[in-house]
């Protein structure tokens, strides 16, 4: 019974992080949301009795994918389109 509540909570967290990653315009926050999806996926793989897959997803999906996304953002743009950058500067 407690497993059911745990799995449902983790799945709702995964869907919420996916919607946030697609809607958010600041690309740094979207990349961290993708890392959260991989982290929750690791926990779900462990509950579904697959420890090898959980280890691989934890090492590759959380650490390495996030770092290469962040290096790409550092070498290119940070916001999704140029209108957002103008709005950010105006707000200050």
């Amino acid at each position: 019974m407690i497993y059911m509540i745990l799995i449902l909570f983790l799945l709702i967290l995964m869907i919420g992080a996916a919607i946030y990653a697609v809607v958010q315009r600041d690309l740094l926050y979207a990349v961290i949301a993708t890392g959260v999806i991989s982290l929750v996926l690791t926990a779900v793989f462990y509950i579904l009795q697959a420890p090898d897959v959980a280890l691989t997803e934890a090492a590759i999906g959380v650490a390495l994918t996030t770092i290469i996304f962040i290096i790409t953002i550092r070498n290119t743009v940070r916001y999704e389109s140029d209108d957002d950058k103008k709005h950010k500067i105006k707000k200050l």
Binding site: P51, D52, L55, T56, A59, I60, A63, L64, I67, I68, I71, R74, N75
Partner: protein, 231 residues
């Protein structure tokens, strides 16, 4: 207008996907369980290996693992060649900088422990959950930590490429040794041993150690290439 059309198409796709998956039945024995029983039985009786996923990845489907290692090598080579800059295009702005002293001293303490954990995971790949890919990635994460903490942490490219090539060649050479007693490529030729012993499973342990070395040095080279880009 375009967004409305896209949402309509995705809703129809989602309805048909869910409809196809609904009656499958999770958690109950199905008609495909004959293959599962074959693999679970042969792992204990013929190979004496405790981790079934390891025996499938290295022994029963060993050729696919060779293909996967090749794909990873090709991806790292393609990345290195796409980001190539000629000598007059290299700038001076770099993204690396030294972190604070807490991060520096903590990384110096953590780095040997992470490498030891990664080596443990890929050496005991046939006894506990783990294996070559998991252990190699853990070691690459340790190198990433040192690269982010220290500005001038240098890893020599020649040593990395030498270890990577040697590990890859050794994998293929072990496969070619399978031809010795009139067998096939990647056939087992070492004695099998008993269950849950470190020296069990024939060539599975050796192949996973080689895969662990290759993945660790490859991913370290990828991180090093992509971090040392100067604008």
């Amino acid at each position: 207008m375009k967004k409305f059309l896209v949402i309509l198409i995705l809703a129809a796709l989602g309805y048909y996907m869910y409809d196809a998956l609904y009656g499958i039945g999770i958690g109950i024995p199905r008609f495909t369980d004959g293959v599962k029983d074959f693999y679970l039985d042969k792992t204990v009786s013929e190979l004496h290996v405790a981790n079934t996923v390891t025996s499938i990845v290295v022994n029963f489907r060993g050729f696919d693992t060779l293909g996967e290692v090749t794909v990873l090598f090709l991806a790292v080579t393609a990345l290195g060649s796409i980001l190539y800059k000629r000598r007059h295009q290299v700038g001076t702005r770099s993204i690396l900088f030294s972190s604070s002293s807490i991060v520096r001293s903590g990384s110096k303490l953590l780095f040997p422990a992470i490498v030891l954990l990664g080596a443990y995971v890929f050496i005991h790949g046939h006894l506990t959950p783990g294996g070559g890919f998991q252990g190699g990635t853990i070691i690459a994460t340790g190198f990433l930590l040192m690269l982010l903490a220290y500005e001038n942490f240098k890893v020599s490219h020649t040593v990395l490429s030498f270890i990577e090539s040697f590990a890859g060649i050794f994998f293929v050479v072990i496969g070619l040794f399978g031809f010795m007693n009139g067998g096939t490529f990647l056939q087992n030729f070492l004695p099998e041993g008993t269950l849950n012993n470190l020296f069990s499973g024939g060539i599975i342990g050796i192949i996973y150690v080689m895969v662990g070395f290759k993945v660790a040095t490859e991913l370290t080279g990828l991180i090093y290439t992509i971090l040392h880009e100067k604008d």
